[in-house]
Amino acid sequence: MNRCDEYLENLSAYLDSELPENSIKDIEEHLNKCEKCSEELSILKTIVSALNELEEELPDGFETSLHKRLEEAGTKSGVKIRFGKVRLFAQIAAGFVIVLCLGFAIRAGLMRTGGKTAAPAADMASVSSMQSTAEDGFEAAGAMSARSVVTGTSRSSNGADDDTGAEVEFYAADKSAKKEEIISESMAEIQKAEDSGEMMITFSDAAPYTFKKDGQDTLVKITADDAQSVLERIIEIETGLNQDEQHSNIAGLNKMLNAVNTETYGGNQIEVKLLYVNDETWNEFLTKMQVVFPEVYIESAPKAEDIEYIRIEIIEE
């Protein structure tokens, strides 16, 4: 790189007054004697000043129609973006996750007819197994979740009403009254969020049926109308985290994104499991989640010491 190239790289920052004091002096000295670079600066100035003037007026009626929409948003029941930390008992956590999957899949019309039922289930299975890593625990969990979904799905197509809001039985749940109550509350909350059509993030404590005996599985669930963009935003966050390569979640996320992009993944539901090696990275992830999804309201999150893995489930509506 010759001297001019170095200066040219800083030309924009110079014009924007974003260079440190010592560099300013240096670049100005150069500009004084280099015709080529000062001509570049002059072109840059012209373009930027034209860009400065691109701002256009608001269209007629903008404020009136905005007002109407704000009023509508205000009158819809309560908070549009729903969030809940859902505490579940160990044995039924698996059932809970499955019910959610089914609930959304059915509502999305994926399982409308018996004949087609197998397809989304197979997709889920393949996605779940795709998430597996070399770690045994991880693999086992992926397989388990895939198997559970398949089981649940066939049950749904045989028995329950396939239309929206179908009743789905918990085949894995211990049906004590208390637990049922918790689940139905959670379902109602999720239903409300779904009805409002807004994004939702749910953090929930879940069961130790997963990866490590003492570990906790945490579910982060995002309902979005564009799973791809949500995935991309999460990858963006992950890229900025200080995790070593061995524990990085990026490869898995990219795999998933690739599957979504190339449509090898046919369902409308994605589930990824993310691993954070320490409190610091988990907290950083959480902070960035709140930055990257500013429109999502996050009330609380599990404490770092309570989790080892987090599962993110993205449902495309």
Partner: protein, 206 residues
């Protein structure tokens, strides 16, 4: 954050539409312009900028003042726009290599072959139109930084916060974006360089 703004934010969080409207009064034109330059379509821009404002209204309880209110609002707007673009057309990115030539929507502005006379207003208008068209051909990433920098006048730090990218990346991205913009214009318009030099001389801007 001044106390008036803080007060309006608190009222908005309680669902007060009028308070929110006062709060965004100073920003809504910019929100619209972000959407307009991102989508290139006035109807889409109106729809999306209102989407962004409604979302901000609903989510304002979450706003804790960690960034300025405007940065937070622009971030929501950018998210709404990029989601829309991804959805509408996965191949929305036009790289510099593919260039403007491959884009059938590109309609180069005809520069006058001879000196257009003393009508500087017309010249400026033409230049503006040319830059606007070139801007529409940039990648989403490049457009984002130029909108935030050159239309919204944000600092590199605020742009970094808005896009959740580090400041060093923003610095080089802005430089590359402007360079790309310049090349689109110059490649298409041989006259551009003379034109710029002439314009600068006249304005005593060089």
């Amino acid at each position: 954050m001044d106390s008036a703004e803080k007060n309006l934010i608190e009222l908005s969080a309680k669902g007060n539409v009028e308070a929110f409207e006062t709060l965004v009064q100073a920003h809504q034109k910019r929100v619209y312009n972000i959407a307009l330059r991102m989508t290139k379509d006035p109807d889409d821009a109106q729809e999306l900028s209102q989407d962004a404002l409604v979302r901000a209204f609903v989510a304002i309880k979450k706003f804790r003042g960690e960034s300025s209110f405007s940065t937070w609002l622009y971030r929501i707007t950018m998210n709404v726009c990029t989601d829309f673009l991804r959805k509408r057309n996965k191949a929305v990115v036009v790289s510099l290599e593919q260039g403007a030539a491959g884009n059938e929507n590109y309609n180069p502005v005809q520069l006058p072959e001879k000196s257009p006379g003393p009508d500087e207003l017309t010249e400026k208008k033409q230049l503006k139109e040319m830059v606007k068209q070139a801007m529409d051909l940039l990648s989403v990433e490049h457009r984002q930084v130029l909108i935030l920098r050159d239309l919204m006048d944000l600092t590199y730090k605020d742009i970094a916060n808005t896009l959740n990218v580090n400041e060093g990346t923003i610095k080089s991205r802005i430089n590359r974006a402007r360079d790309a913009l310049k090349h689109i214009i110059i490649d298409r318009e041989e006259l551009f360089k003379d034109y710029v030099v002439k314009l600068n001389r006249r304005e005593g801007n060089s």
